[in-house]
């Protein structure tokens, strides 16, 4: 042990060392938790039958789900997701393009298909991602 550090450690109580250790563990734990969460976003897919499918955003996927007007393709690629409608009148969902942030939604209402990106667990949303809590249309 280096002489400076040894001298420094000698001048603190044992209980203080434990306290320092607990604080250090707290920081390490929080770091792991925060970094670990960045890869845990999930894609929630609701099809026309109100069936819910979950898929990790970090795993690529090309899936055909049942829509009221015919099949609708859902593509997950490179940590983003998009919806490709087949027979929707205005193709609003297709025109929305890729979404990639927690809380974002793309949907084909006539098809009855909704896709949302959620964070870990029950779907948290980072407020800074969106300027508004809701947009009335």
């Amino acid at each position: 042990m280096r002489p400076g550090l040894e001298a420094w450690l000698q001048c603190i109580y044992v209980t203080d060392r434990w306290l320092a250790l607990i604080c250090a563990l707290l920081v390490i734990g929080a770091c792991i938790g925060t970094l670990g969460n960045s890869g845990e976003e999930i894609v929630v897919i609701h099809d026309a039958q109100a069936q819910e499918k979950l898929w990790p955003l970090n795993r690529n996927l090309l899936l055909s789900v049942e829509g009221k007007l015919g099949p609708v393709q859902v593509e997950v690629n490179d940590r983003r997701v998009r919806l490709l409608e087949y027979r929707s009148p205005r193709l609003v969902g297709t025109m929305t393009g890729w979404i990639n942030r927690t809380g974002q939604v793309t949907a084909c209402i006539p098809c009855g298909v909704v896709i949302q990106i959620k964070g870990r667990g029950a779907g948290t949303m980072t407020p800074s991602h969106e300027a508004y809590d809701g947009i009335i249309r």
């Binding site: 920081v27 939604v105 948290t124 300027a131 809590d133 809701g134």
Partner: protein, 357 residues
Amino acid sequence: MKGGLVMRDLHFKPIVPLLLLLAFLGFWLLWKNPSHQELHATTRLAMGTLVSVSTWGATEAEDENGVNWVFSRIKEVESWASKQIPSSLVYKINHSPKGTLLEVPEELVTVVHTGLEIRNLSGGAFDPGLGYLVDLWGFGNGVAEEGKIPETQKIAAWLEERNKHHDFGIQWVKTANGGMAIQWGGFAYELDLGGIAKGYAMDLAMESLKLSGIPNALIVAGGDMIIAGSKGGKPWRIGIQHPRDHNKVMAFAEITGDMAMSTSGDYERFFMANGERQHHILDPKTGKPSRSGLISVSIQTSTSIKADALSTAVFVLGMKEGKALIEKLDGVEGMLVHENGERWKSPGFKGQWLEGS
């Protein structure tokens, strides 16, 4: 001995800021951790539109429970108020022979009564009995896929039938067990509760959230919105869509406390024909899309059911009469946009125009 203690304390001092720094870092990282964010948002499809429920301050389990309640209440309302679902009560009423007496639940009585109240207040600008016309124009299923203006004779026949009666063609009859029955007046009074039942469902949904222990929430369903409480003391931030650019917000409001807001516009469900925008807000006096000149109307009031019906009524009335109606009613505020660029908002309307919108 005393001197030794003083020395130890002096040596100990460098650890204190280090511990404080570590503790601060720990709490900061935990706070930044998304699982500790207090805002939860869920979006699902219901009542033919996207319904978003945001809650503040609830645990994940409380949020999930509350959100399930919300969608279950909305589904309940949809199950009797939809005119497309063959098992719904409204469908049954609309498909019964004229004059049929049908016992109805209190909820339907409340919605139709409120609709008729707004109809009277607005001189007929809002009408819960436009079902036949809505189908004729192709808006019955949410989106008119192919733009096609209905035959003039069919609209004329509807207007003629309507003009035969001074009263609205629905009669209420008290049943022997104290309930209510509805006597339907035929095709000219086919119920379409699309302009009011969603508002009613929103009121019930918010009530469910509060009962499940969530006092701070925001529910948005297309043009309808209901708010309760705040986001940890901060207001909910609401954007109002630009009527001619769906990627833009033309106004915003910061709202704390209980309030409902509804927007009616000619931009959500429409098709172009004869060089005109054929939209879903029909004028009961002409049987055609309203040509009042207004393109967006937002109403703020205490309940979503009233906000929903009043925004349609004001849209049909136009700028002058719409303003007069808003000013006449207590606890009702409005924001109107005319196609000629004219804008107006009542003094108590919570919200402001965005520059350049």
